[in-house]
Amino acid sequence: MRRPAGREPAPARRAGANLDVLPLLISALALVALLLGGFVVVAPNRLLSGTPLSLWQAAGPGGAASLLAILGVIALLAARPALRFQRVLIGLAAGTLMVLALALAGMTASEQAAAAGRLTRVSLGAGFWTLFVAGLLLLADSAERETHRAGKALPLLATLLGLAALIASGRLAQLSLAREYAVRQQAYLDEMLRHLQLTGSGLALALVAGGAIGLLAYRRPRRAGPVFAALNIVQTIPSLALFALLIGPLTVLTGLFPALRSLGIAGIGPFPAILALGLYGLLPVARGVHAGLSAVPNTVVEAALGMGMTRGQIVRHTLIPLALPTLLQTLRLTLVQLIGLAVLAALIGAGGLGTFIFQGLGQTAADLVLLGALSAIALALIADTALRGLTLFLLRRPQN
């Protein structure tokens, strides 16, 4: 883990293995889903359930043929692992697949809206989602296995640019998902910002408290057992219950000390949500800090001490840099986990992207649920990718 992934030796290929099984499998699965499931679903209005349209009906023979052609290209590339840039090419093809599928769905929505009126809703169907997720998996797989750093980033960046350009072009505006967004743009921005605030505050709390606990467990190994046992118990409380459990005690507390209310402390709202998120992040952060520090070889610390480094210098020059890979991984996993958990904050009146999910559930408006869920997923993916990139950057070995 200490070396950047780019320096690891390429995994040895099994003798006789002359095709990549995973991309083949994924593209075959996508093909089956396209043939069986509806590509889009057309409903007379927002609340009624609709009827699925197959890829042929929705995108016409030209659109269908081009999607199938890309799947064919991916399968061909997968069968030729020796090809130069094979992984980068698969990644680029997967990105094209995703962008094109979305563009075709957007065009269908525009056509339907023009033909059947403004009330008609066109949602993305099971076939589309399978294809889109397949593209995402192919993209992730190619980035994971590509050893060159630029080769890792290129397909990902190209896909993101393509998706952004597609959204900016307005071609998706008639999709039900986009229309759900369009009617509540301001609310969406507010809740997105709120989601980030909740996650950020919860993370900060987890980092400070969890970091201190991890450090304590490292310095006093005998206390590590009981401390982690206690944190494990917190982790076993179902997340939904933890949010709800805090309401009671905090309400009692603010009842006893009304002055606390002026500090923003209350039984519902952002305060208990941040507290719950912080509690959830406590165990992973404490464990990560403890594991990272414990993995630093004792001999290195002894040598540092014997050479006359002060405590601060030992921490700065040996403990932190040598624990860094584990610490960054901890940060990434905790952040992604908290972004997902923060969805529940809406249940106790703290807002965030969960607001749309629970509103959508209440109204049986699936696309509103999707708007919230997809945003949270996108946020988690962006955070994950950004931190992976940061990790690669920080752990690179300067040569000459």
Partner: protein
């Protein structure tokens, strides 16, 4: 250079170091020898205050070590351990520069010093300075460890079984380098080892420890010809003590004036008796010509001189 006086150190009731008094002269190499648990490593760690003595005093260059802040004290002493403990995330160059950087030297002076030291330990900086520890062999890593310990121009070098983890040929190479380095720099060295051969080979003074007590100090020749106790004799080979004595004594200690000229290649005065015996065995003879005695006359070494008490 460093003087231990009546030093005691206990761990949970067990005395690891018991009333040790030892004086290491400036510029000398003193080897602390003894079996595992004899307290030799503990004594070493008391010197740079990685441990604090319970009783007695340790004076470093005349000053009581307890009056010198540990961090300052350690920067004035080099420290080499068996597991090397190089910083894996730093290049060789940066590892060697550790103490000079702590001491706040100028980058130019540090660069010069690092290059000089890498040359000194036999790792040409052009090829090795930018490498990482995991790209080096065990012997090379230990060379870097020695260079790192010497970088801050320490007055005293503490070495805790420095060559214990490398294979015998590499170990001999490292020992030769260390002797050459000491000759050039004149650094005082306090070395812990349980390797009898290494101790005899390297040291000017042997200090034999057993169960925390200092049993005997003296030159290798003194200790091996007159072991103070049975424990000392046992440590240096028991029944094979005599063979180890041949390693400690030099041709010059036993050679006599030659009666008749001998045309064969003469043996050096400072070769060990062991080397002389080996040559006699190889050549099937019982006498060897010696290069030149102290008074300038030619010398001779007879098999009888080897076994003479």
């Amino acid at each position: 250079m460093i003087r231990f006086e009546g030093v005691c150190k206990s761990f949970g009731g067990a005395r690891a170091v018991n009333e040790v008094t030892l004086d290491v002269a400036r510029g000398s190499l003193c080897a602390l020898v003894g079996t595992s648990g004899s307290g030799k490593s503990t004594l070493l760690r008391l010197a740079n205050r990685l441990l604090e003595a319970d009783e007695g005093s340790i004076r470093f260059d005349g000053a009581d070590v307890t009056n010198i802040p540990p961090v300052e004290l350690r920067r004035r002493m080099g420290y080499v351990i068996q597991s090397v403990g190089l910083f894996p995330h730093w290049t060789v160059e940066r590892n060697v520069a550790t103490v000079p950087r702590l001491l706040g030297w100028s980058p130019a002076r540090i660069g010069e010093r690092v290059a000089e030291l890498l040359d000194l330990v036999g790792l040409p900086p052009g090829r090795h300075a930018r490498r990482y520890p995991d790209e080096l062999s065990g012997g090379q890593q230990q060379r870097v460890g020695v260079a790192r310990a010497l970088a801050g121009e320490p007055e005293l070098l503490l070495m805790d079984e420095p060559f214990g983890a490398v294979d015998p040929p590499t170990r001999r190479g490292l020992q030769d380098s260390l002797m050459a380095i000491q000759k050039r720099t004149g650094t005082t060295i306090l070395l812990v080892t349980h390797d009898v051969e290494e101790a005899i080979r390297l040291s000017g003074t042997l200090a034999v420890l057993d169960q925390g007590r200092l049993l005997q100090t003296g030159t290798p020749a003194q200790v091996l010809t007159q072991p103070a106790t049975d424990a000392v004799a046992r440590f240096f080979g028991g029944p094979l003590l005599g063979l180890n004595r041949l390693k400690a004594l030099r041709v010059g200690d036993r050679a006599q004036a030659a009666a008749s000229p001998d045309e064969r290649e003469p043996i050096d005065m400072d070769a060990t008796l062991e080397a002389a015996l080996a040559r006699m065995v190889a050549e099937g003879c019982s006498r060897l010509p010696v290069r030149r005695l102290a008074d300038g006359t030619r010398g001779v070494l007879d098999l009888a001189d080897l076994v003479r008490p």
